[in-house]
Amino acid sequence: MTSRPDLQPLPRRIRIPVSAGYVWRRFMVSVFGIWGVLTVIFIAVNLNGSPVTAFVDPELATAEEIAAVTRELGYDRPIWVRYGIFLRDLLGGDFPKSYRYGESSLTLVLDRLPVTALLAVSGLAVGLIVGLVAGYVSGTGRGVLARQGPLLAMNTIRAIPDVVIGILLMFAFGVALRWLPVMGLNSWRGLVLPALVLGLSIAPSLARTYRASIISNLDSDHVRTALAKGIAPIRVRLRHVGMNALVPVVSLFGLQTANLLGGAILVENMFGIPGLGQLGASALNNRDYPVIIAVVFLSAAIFIAVNFIVDVAAAILDPRIRIE
């Protein structure tokens, strides 16, 4: 092929998958979201009463003693003053100290985060593997058994409460077979049962979404075109159907983050794993308000950040989502 001299090649342009304006707007929405969560949780815990009784002997403390501790904790001031101090400290990079531990509540929470993150990521991995395989087989399989079997299994799992699944697995693999520990996270084996419980809690919705997306893709023009071009059916199913069908799954993944964090808290409690969940539950029981605020703040920040990333990722995967 010869090139015509009057046609110059177009300069190569680096295409930014999404516009900076889109990213900035999403970012600002995220920042306001986090501020909103902090304000709501601050008001909520403070409306719940003073934490003073958790720090004195409520039976034998005198009124003077209670008043002294109230002053020490700052609860002799009105809520709006405490909120102002709270925001001022936050902007100064100072998260309030835990009443029980005497150290920064954010540091405490960040110390526990790796355990919860490990649980959540392991659960996500299990959920993705189980959910995507079940969704793919159910969406592309031939015959009633292949199409309905995985769906039935997922619906059954969905119908059983996570707590019950956890207890069943705990007693089967921990008590009856003694293959896996039923408590703690002292080795990788301690991760297996919690990850299974967590993964099975999100797998059904992933499977259903993926299956529906695959079925809609199977009927699309680009799939018929690929098959007409003679591309091997397995290649079409995997690449043209399977990959394209992932877009709604990615969007769902953002929403599942909240489920994963909530599920991790439940699983920590069930298996005696000292993560964010145990810390938060204990803080609630002991009225350690700074820790409650820090746990909620971090959970919300992760949820919002993941959804921000998911929104951007979805815009990259599907140009129709992009604004501008």
């Binding site: 009463g49 003073s50 934490p51 009784t53 958790a54 720090f55 004195v56 002997d57 409520p58 039976e59 034998l60 403390a61 003693e65 002294a68 501790v69 029980r100 531990y101 005497g102 207890i167 705990m170 007693f171 921990g174 008590v175 077979l177 003694r178 293959w179 896996l180 520990p181 039923v182 408590m183 703690g184 080795s187 084996r189 409690n269 069930m270 298996f271 005696g272 794993i273 000292p274 145990q278 810390l279 539950a281 204990s282 609630l284 029981n285 002991n286 009225r287």
Partner: protein
């Protein structure tokens, strides 16, 4: 996938699981694993430690005196003690006690510990010692003299909870969060909501405990505790209800036991809620409850109904004061006499998970009170909500679940119904006089006699529905032996290896 391939996959998976099982580590013979509630603090000087904290304190720190499993006060670092006058106690100390860093633990250190607890400037506002100790001196390293504001015949028992810390901890110069133990164990790691690990402290003066390493594992869920015991991942757990411990009894490797503890369970009556200010109504509530039926159905440990503050585990229990008999007719008659023949509405609040089968027993109470015309609504509450609400007479429900007597002292048990107790809203000047007399008693026999009178008074005044001695239930694995105690303590040094 062809069948042979499928078969190979199944075989591989099975082999993997077998390897997994083979890799499961078992606890070493030197390790003791105890299920625990959450902890609040390692610091014995902290304002309001919770019950589980004392288990760690008892393992890490020495005390002047100690309580044996049978309830007797025995030597700690004090080998003997006497009371030269009603307002003075003298303790004679061992000469070989030191902290892990080598500092000696002598009389001057003990004196400094007591002074720290009675000094409000150090933040220790809530201290029984602060209310009774006037002064403390150490004439020599092995002698401690304590001057009291008023006589305290139970002083050697009161100081069993005085956990002794090093001088640099008392003056705040020790690094925060560090522990300098003198007890049988030292701290390896501390996680109030996770796992706390202790190991044998070679600097301890006493005998070496049977288990060199101890793990306190915080487990909020009863299901996990049961699974842990059945899976041989725990050696000890307690406070399981009869329903929870049922399946554990069938396991031959576990021992399930219960005994009647110092604690007495009762439901406080708030006279500020009408018509509970009427003594006849309060007595009617007591007659309306079939305690024996509740014990038969929900409670282990051979406990019996009581009609007073102290249960039969105390010397101050009054054997001449019977439990209120179950008599719905009499209850109805008393209510009619008080002008409440038509019954009334009543709220019952209880802290979730604090007492064995507490939710079930609350339902039975509601049903039995309903039979005499009292319409009861139940309010289960998180512990802190319950704690705050019950201490406020304007907010407390008509009935609130409570128990008292954990440390086994007359003084700290009878205070349950003294006016100075914020949870007691049924103030009774007669009872207060007897309580003041108890604090001033100069001999133990005199204190016991006054306690019996106070019990009789409480029975008649009926500031609560008196129930029964709370049982202490426990489960041990076949790797350990443990002599049950009537108090609330779980001390790792008390566990023995089976002979």
């Amino acid at each position: 996938m062809t069948l042979p391939k499928f078969g190979r996959l199944v075989t591989s998976l099975a082999a993997g699981f077998v390897l997994l099982a083979a890799a499961t580590p078992f606890a070493t013979a030197q390790e003791l694993r105890i299920a625990s509630n959450t902890f609040a603090t390692l610091d014995p000087l902290a304002r309001n430690p919770i019950s589980s904290d004392y288990n760690l304190h008892a393992a890490l720190y020495s005390t002047l005196t100690s309580v044996a499993p049978d309830g007797e006060v025995v030597a700690g670092i004090a080998t003997s003690w006497e009371t030269p006058s009603a307002l003075e106690w003298v303790f004679h100390l061992r000469d070989d006690v030191k902290f892990a860093d080598g500092q000696p633990l002598d009389a001057s250190v003990v004196a400094a510990n007591i002074l720290a607890r009675i000094d409000p400037q150090k933040g220790n506002l809530i201290s029984t010692l602060g209310k009774i100790v006037a002064d403390v001196t150490a004439p020599d390293p092995l002698t401690l003299r304590v001057a009291l504001k008023n006589p305290s015949v139970e002083f050697p028992r009161l100081v069993t909870g005085l956990y002794l810390t090093a001088p640099d901890h008392l003056d705040g110069s020790a690094p925060a969060g560090t522990v300098n133990p003198s007890g049988p164990y030292k701290l390896v790691s501390f996680d109030p909501d996770g796992e706390t690990v202790l190991e044998y402290n070679p600097a301890h003066y006493g005998p070496k405990p049977d288990f060199e390493k101890v793990r306190f594992i915080v487990l909020p869920q009863v299901t996990t505790i049961i699974a842990g015991l059945l899976a041989d991942e725990l050696d000890f757990a307690e406070k399981l209800s009869r329903q929870d411990s049922g399946q554990l009894r069938r396991d031959e490797t576990l021992t399930v036991g219960a005994l009647s503890s110092y604690r007495t369970l009762f439901y406080r009556i708030n006279p500020n809620v009408e018509p509970l200010g009427d003594q006849r109504v309060r007595q009617a509530l007591n007659h309306a409850i079939d305690k024996q039926a509740i014990i038969d159905n929900f409670v282990d440990g051979g406990v019996v109904p009581v009609g007073q503050v102290l249960n039969p585990s105390f010397a101050g229990h009054n054997p001449d004061v019977p439990a209120y008999g179950y008599d719905p007719e009499k209850a109805r008659a008393l209510l009619a006499e008080a002008g409440q023949a038509g019954g009334f509405d009543l709220e019952l609040e209880f802290a979730q998970g604090q007492n064995q089968a507490g939710d079930l027993i609350a339902q039975v109470l509601a049903q039995q009170l309903g039979e005499v015309g009292i319409r009861v609504s139940l309010t289960p509450e998180p512990f802190q909500v319950w704690s705050e609400r019950t201490a406020d007479p304007a907010k407390a429900a008509g009935l609130s679940e409570n128990s008292f007597g954990g440390d086994g002292t007359l003084q700290a048990s009878l205070v349950a119904f003294a006016s100075l107790n914020n949870r007691n809203h049924a103030d009774d000047p007669e009872f207060d006089k007897l309580y003041d007399a108890l604090l001033a008693a100069e001999t133990f026999d005199a204190a016991v006699e006054i306690a019996r009178q106070a019990n009789a008074r409480a029975h008649d005044f009926a500031p609560a529905i008196f129930m029964y001695a709370q049982p202490r239930t426990y489960v041990t694995s076949d790797r350990v032996e443990w002599t049950p105690r009537k108090d609330d303590r779980v001390r790792p040094q008390d566990f023995r290896k089976p002979q």
